[in-house]
């Protein structure tokens, strides 16, 4: 065949890269300093959650009332709370629950949101209408109120609280996913995927979702803090985490009344939440960039 192949001389010959896509993503992630900082913090937090009991100088749940509301000192480096409990120990003890709450609640909401959002965006029409109206109904209630309603149906307990929180945040993810899908659905590569014989699931999961992940990842990392705070709000109402169990959100809630006299009570749990959210956010941003071949070198 007389194909004119000489016209391809312009691209300088490269070495055949055969590494797997996952390795490519990882090597890209390693190059991103901010993402690595985020990942390190996440690893440290997980280690604290697992082995924290060996680091606690005091029992997190028993306080000495006489030592209540003490400012940070050498004895209590983060000070003590209104019941005289050591805040440092309580923060370490709370890591486990706060991380679990944040990560699982977002994971559940995200998965459900992606499924609902994809179906609504991709199929459109009646399916879209039913799914999105359902989402609108959930959004129409103040999320905390709805979570309380779910809790009263599901019963008390941390796991139930996590489920309640995930359900009320599903619409946010579903909406983002649906909107992004609508914007890429009409792209010709989606038409092309159809023309070569892909089924709907192949098109949604292989061709559409990978191209809409950026805003979703960012939203999910921010969602972790919302989940922690909302779970603590439930705990405050006596529905989720039960006192005296330490948890960052409830520590923040309980410390509110002492804010003027002893700001350290809210300061340290607040910092802990901020650091966690920041870590996930940095890591999420890095992950988003690493997943985008256009940003790779």
């Amino acid at each position: 065949m007389e194909l004119n192949r000489e016209e391809n001389v312009m691209l300088e010959g490269g070495v055949e890269k055969t590494s797997s896509p996952w390795r490519n993503i990882w090597s890209e992630l390693v190059k991103n300093k901010a993402a690595m900082v985020g990942l390190s913090i996440i690893v440290i937090l997980i280690l604290i959650a697992l082995f924290g009991k060996y680091l606690m100088p005091y029992d997190p749940n028993t306080g000495v009332l006489a030592e209540s509301l003490q400012k940070p000192s050498s004895a209590h480096i983060f000070g003590t709370d209104e019941q005289g409990r050591d805040i440092f120990s309580r923060i370490i003890d709370g890591t486990k629950i706060s991380l679990r709450v944040g990560i699982t609640a977002v994971a559940i909401a995200l998965t459900a949101g992606i499924i609902f959002g994809s179906f609504a965006g991709y199929y459109g029409g009646k399916i879209d209408m039913y799914i999105m109206r359902l989402m609108d109904i959930i959004l129409a209630f103040p999320s905390l109120l709805l979570a309380i309603a779910f809790m009263s149906a599901l019963g008390k307990g941390i796991d139930k609280a996590i489920i309640a929180i995930s359900i009320v945040t599903i619409p946010e993810y579903a909406r983002i996913v649906r909107g992004s899908i609508l914007s890429v659905k009409e792209n010709e590569y989606v038409q092309a995927a159809k023309a070569i014989g892909n089924n709907d699931m192949g098109i949604i999961f292989k061709h559409i979702l990978p191209n809409v992940m950026s805003p979703i990842i960012v939203r999910a990392t921010l969602g972790i803090s919302t989940a922690i705070l909302e779970t603590s709000a439930l705990g405050f109402l006596g529905l989720g985490i039960q006192p005296p169990q330490a948890e960052w959100g409830s520590m923040l809630g309980a410390g509110r009344g002492y804010f003027y006299n002893a700001p350290h009570i809210v300061l340290f749990p607040g910092i802990a939440i901020t650091i966690t959210v920041l870590a996930f956010n940095l890591f999420g941003d890095g992950l988003r960039d690493a997943l985008d071949p256009k940003l790779r070198k």
Binding site: N4, E6, E7, N8, V9, M10
Partner: protein, 325 residues
């Protein structure tokens, strides 16, 4: 001379280096003339027109050298304020996309009036009256009704007519048209080109046409500037360029267009692609794709050579000042 561009150089800072989008471009436009700049994507033709308008986004872009003499005054030395008084008044521009170059939230009457109120100190009523006149001039039926329409109520061809009305409202001496018909259908393209030429004769406006379509160039221009990779490779009258192209690139381009009036089995093909602007070859930018490439072409950048009263950037004409090649 209405406009003289001398040794214009415009750079863009991008990730990974500096791109010389326009690299030493010279050309001039006389009053009442249509000059076309032809080139493919990456040739720097659009950047040239934006440089003249002073519309290069800075950063990342910057005009780093050269002169743009409009009626003898260097536009590059003007202040922002002075440029604003020239833009839309003495020099105006129409863009490729008639869909996005009109603001969707204002009526077209308001958009045409804006320049008139600003540059000609007209009152709102006078400007509106003039807008209706302009719409009539560009052939929009029942202009007094249309003047109250919003852009989305008009078809693509109509919007391009409105763009032309807007550009010509202040009676500019130079109209820069950047791919004015590329987004339009062929019958509408014919209408718009026809309109532009008629208005040019009527109003005496000079036109700088930026396009990749050699058919359009042949139909409307007096003189042609061919650009490749930021440099002028050939200049001449429209007859010279199309009858006897000197530069191998121009020659290749003309041969590679499928023609309705001729039948070829195979199209002539310029091999390869435009070089990466961050990694330009050492010699002539076209050398790798050239069917007449010689040793020297890969080593040195050819100068713009005077040949038979025309200018061409190719070594083939360097040693043959006159006569046959």
């Amino acid at each position: 001379m209405l406009l003289q561009v001398k040794n214009l150089k415009t750079q863009f800072k991008v990730k990974g280096g500096v791109v010389n989008a326009v690299d030493g471009v010279d050309f001039e436009i006389d009053r009442g003339e249509v000059v076309s700049i032809v080139g493919e994507s990456g040739s720097g033709k659009s950047v040239t027109s934006l440089s003249i308008m002073g519309l290069i986004p800075n950063p990342p872009g910057k005009v780093i050298d050269g002169e743009i003499l409009f009626k003898g005054e260097d536009l590059l030395k003007k202040t922002k304020k002075e440029l604003q008084n020239i833009r839309g008044n003495e020099i105006s521009m129409i863009f490729q996309e008639p869909m996005t170059s009109l603001n969707p939230v204002f009526t077209i009457g308001k958009q045409i009036s804006e320049a008139l109120i600003k540059h000609k100190n007209m009152s709102r009523e006078e400007a509106l009256k003039k807008s209706i006149e302009m719409l009539e001039l560009v052939g929009i039926p029942s202009p007094e009704k249309r003047v109250k329409d919003y852009p989305h109520q008009l078809s693509g061809g109509m919007r391009q007519r409105v763009m032309i009305a807007m550009a010509l409202a202040c009676g500019p001496e130079l109209l820069i048209a950047d791919e004015p018909t590329t987004a339009l259908d062929v019958t509408i393209q014919a209408q718009i080109l026809d309109l532009m030429l008629k208005l040019k004769d009527k109003l005496g406006t000079s036109i700088l046409l930026i396009t990749h379509d050699l058919g359009v160039v042949a139909e409307v221009s007096d003189r042609v500037v061919v650009m490749y990779c930021g440099k002028v490779v050939e200049k001449g009258t429209v007859m010279e360029i199309f009858e006897r192209p000197l530069h191998p690139y121009t020659e290749g381009l003309l041969l590679s267009i499928p023609r309705v009036d001729e039948k070829h089995d195979k199209l002539f093909m310029i091999p390869g692609v435009v070089p990466n602007p961050l990694n330009m070859p050492k010699g002539c930018a076209f050398a790798d794709r050239c069917h007449r490439c010689e040793e020297i072409c890969k080593k040195e950048v050819p100068p713009l050579v005077e040949y038979e009263g025309r200018q061409v950037r190719c070594f083939r004409y360097l040693n043959h000042k006159e006569g046959k090649v």
